[in-house]
Symmetry: C2
Subunit: 160 residues, 2 copies
């Protein structure tokens, strides 16, 4: 992780892609969102979605996984260059989550994250809070989900 | 599902409980949120959380599962009484998600959902949108997560 003070509004990172296979969609749904249109092709065809599609929570879980893997790769590269890593604190939560289009079986979603706002908090000296707009876009270039996440990030030692 | 017109602000349902075992926490995290404090007791002990705790997305996924199962039980009961079921449409998203306290291995979370707001939309005749405040509370009575979810619900035929 980069220090809070080194992150700028507008900084954008590409997190990678996730292919939502029918099997993947059904596995997630059977555990966490067992609705027929996420579990069964025939039931999905009769639903308002028209075809098997992923749980909205699955669309976000795939984002989370890629976000964590990105941070781990970035940290490994910084360590390899002998840099000090900033600590990442807990996330207080998220806002404005929008599921804009269904994610159907066979769709590949590309995820990105862009710093939307940064704020120093008096309640946690030595830390700042970063708000990032996170997005998923399908292979047709259509936005499928968007939300603003937040997380505490350590400040550069001595920064005020 | 009850019709939009039969749901009232303040209506509250208890969805049930989920016990977050260490194994359950690690399984979710290994698939969707592979951070050390969700995967390994020793790493978690060294982190800001102090002990193994669930991914925030896991806390919500467990809510989603109980919400779906509740709706399926309710629908089965209505069908058994010969009632007509209202259709539940897609969810446009959620807002104000807050992770207020960590959910540690061994915690049992009780979930509830309360109608916070209802709104008729001109864009979808025959449907209304319900906003519900969803909460998770641990065995010590502490709120661990809260968010406002939304979903389209069919209107009673002829309702205006």
């Amino acid at each position: 992780m980069r220090y809070f003070d080194d992150l700028q509004v507008g900084d954008r990172i590409e997190l990678g892609t996730h292919l939502f296979t029918a099997e993947d969609i059904k596995t997630f749904a059977s555990q966490y969102d067992p609705q027929p249109f996420h579990m069964d092709e025939a039931a999905a065809a009769r639903s308002h979605f028209g075809a098997l599609c992923a749980s909205g929570w699955h669309t976000i879980a795939a984002w989370m996984r890629l976000r964590v893997l990105y941070a781990q790769r970035e940290d490994a590269e910084r360590l390899a260059r002998g840099e000090v890593l900033a600590k990442l604190g807990p996330s207080p939560g998220f806002r404005e989550l929008k599921w804009l289009r269904p994610v159907y079986a066979g769709d590949t979603i590309t995820y990105a994250s862009e710093v939307a706002e940064k704020r120093v908090t008096r309640s946690r000296p030595g830390w700042g809070i970063i708000f990032a707009r996170n997005t998923g876009t399908n292979q047709r270039g259509e936005l499928v989900m968007s939300f603003i996440g937040s997380g505490f990030v350590e400040r550069r030692p001595g920064a005020t």
